[in-house]
């Protein structure tokens, strides 16, 4: 989320965008993550899936759909807006809030946070703060489609779709059909 928002990092427009994942790759990665989550937690009864707006929510819904098919029971994904918990609020004009929707009581559950890109780790730190005020989960796990490195906080993902080594001058753009024209992950900018 942080990475895809930060267009200022892409300062060399001459390098063509390189697509690293297409729709089939994304679909396979999500299916694998779904199974990994189930394997790690034995079953789906104590799991609450929470996506971080906007693209994390779409990914969470897709994972919930796959989980429902595997487990044969309905799983719904929620959304957790972290805007009010960001550490960079005072650096930019006030942002609009996204929708928060917690499908279930999270006390004593395993909450799986889902986001598109893991970068500095600051979004996840904010999400942990936000969770803290909604309840006390038994455990919190993190699933991301892309881990692009460059962490600024001691945070690590439990489930990763693809590790994507990047330089700071590059920008990772995740597109999902719910909000964009296609499913793809591309690296924008940087040296070719």
């Amino acid at each position: 989320m942080v990475a895809s928002d930060d267009a200022a990092r892409a300062d060399t427009p001459h390098v063509p965008d390189r697509t690293v994942l297409d729709d089939k790759d994304i679909s396979r990665a999500l299916t694998r993550i779904t199974h990994e989550i189930l394997e790690r937690n034995r079953d789906s009864t104590g799991i609450v899936l929470l996506g971080i707006p906007t693209r994390g929510v779409h990914l969470a819904r897709r994972i919930a759909k796959r989980m429902s098919e595997v487990e044969g029971r309905d799983m719904t994904a929620g959304a957790l807006d972290i805007t009010m918990y960001r550490d960079d609020l005072r650096l930019k004009p006030a942002r609009a809030l996204e929708h928060t929707e917690i499908p279930d009581d999270i006390d004593d559950k395993v909450v799986v946070l889902i986001d598109d890109v893991l970068f500095s780790g600051r979004t996840i730190r904010a999400a942990l703060d936000a969770l803290n005020e909604i309840g006390r989960p038994r455990a919190v796990q993190l699933a991301v489609l892309i881990d692009r490195g460059h962490r600024e906080l001691p945070i690590r993902a439990d489930f990763v779709g693809k590790n994507l080594p990047t330089s700071l001058s590059e920008n990772v753009k995740v597109k999902l059909t719910e909000t964009d024209d296609a499913d793809s992950v591309a690296i924008i900018g940087g040296a070719a």
């Binding site: 009010m84 918990y85 005072r90 004009p93 006030a94 929708h99």
Partner: protein
């Protein structure tokens, strides 16, 4: 987003919708086990009240506290204002204490405007009611309540009844509802309509009974006896017969219509007790929504980086 909130007329449609959408999200905070967000930690909000208030002051205080701001309450009674201290000196004192926002209610129209533009204080100024002029956060919470019940306000018919002359609530509501695309009808005795009402973007009527059947929402205004320096109607009984909302009139409203009142109510005057307590009355809900709307205003004015003065739309229109 604007820097100060002085008039409902300062808000364009985009800003108004943004405040209402933000409030919609913040309403959920009230139902959480921990009703607090860390967003305004370390910021100071001063409630500067030169005039009595229950709802608005408590509502602003709750809103600021839920956003983790420090709140200083100042009321003119029991302060140096009763020794004759001016608005300017009071403002300079607050500035010296480092107020990031000043929520001001004053008995004189235009006091918040003066406070915002005289550079006495650096903080954001929020008008919480000035004389008979404006009360923008009330208009926002009214619009918010209507939107929750009626959906998008574009093309909806809102009827405002009663003491429009002395009502800052009516003035702010008319401006905001016009921005949001609603059709407003004002119903009042001719003596209680302000000079220049023909230039407002509203229809006016002297007869409540003819305007009641098309209303999606009806807003009853308090008869502000404390501001009345002359006789505006023959008797309270006659006013309430002609302009009060009783059960018979309420039953003629469309089924989906809601009954609103900004409070405090004169039960038996502009609204009967039966109507005020009826299921169609959203008066208590208005108070709940007020906290969410004021949280949204405080967040949007204070939550982000300080903005460049040159982008202040209020400055441009002057």
């Amino acid at each position: 987003m604007i820097k100060h909130l002085l008039s409902a007329g300062d808000l364009n449609r985009e800003d108004a919708v943004r405040i209402l959408d933000t409030a919609e999200e913040l309403l959920g905070v009230a139902s959480r086990p921990i009703k607090k967000l860390p967003t305004l930690r370390g910021r100071t909000v001063v409630n500067l009240f030169f005039e009595d208030s229950t709802r608005t002051r408590i509502s602003f205080e709750a809103a600021a506290k839920r956003l983790s701001a420090d709140v200083i309450n100042f009321s003119a009674k029991g302060s140096s204002v009763s020794k004759g201290e001016s608005l300017k000196d009071t403002a300079l004192t607050l500035q010296a204490m480092g107020a990031d926002a000043v929520v001001v209610r004053h008995h004189n129209s235009g006091a918040p405007h003066r406070l915002a533009h005289a550079k006495w204080t650096k903080g954001a100024v929020i008008n919480a009611g000035d004389g008979t002029h404006e009360h923008p956060t009330q208009a926002l919470l009214d619009a918010f309540t209507m939107r929750r019940h009626l959906g998008d306000l574009e093309g909806k018919n809102i009827t405002i009844v009663g003491d429009v002359l002395h009502s800052r609530v009516a003035r702010s509501n008319v401006l905001l509802l016009d921005t949001l695309g609603a059709n407003v009808t004002i119903v009042a005795p001719p003596t209680l309509l302000p000079v220049g009402v023909e230039k407002w973007p509203v229809e006016t009527s002297y007869d409540l009974d003819t305007s009641i059947e098309k209303a999606d929402a009806i807003m009853m205004l308090r008869v502000q006896s404390e501001r009345m320096k002359a006789s505006f109607f023959p008797s309270a009984r006659e006013y309430s017969r002609r302009y009060g909302l009783d059960t018979a009139r309420m039953n003629r409203l469309p089924d989906h219509a809601i009954v609103m009142h900004p409070g405090p109510m004169n039960r038996g005057m502009e609204i009967t007790a039966d109507v005020a307590d009826d299921a169609r009355s959203v008066i208590v809900e208005q108070v709940t929504n007020g906290v969410a709307v004021r949280m949204a205003v405080l967040y949007l004015l204070l939550g982000g980086a300080a903005q460049d003065e040159t982008f202040d739309p209020i400055e441009e229109t002057e």
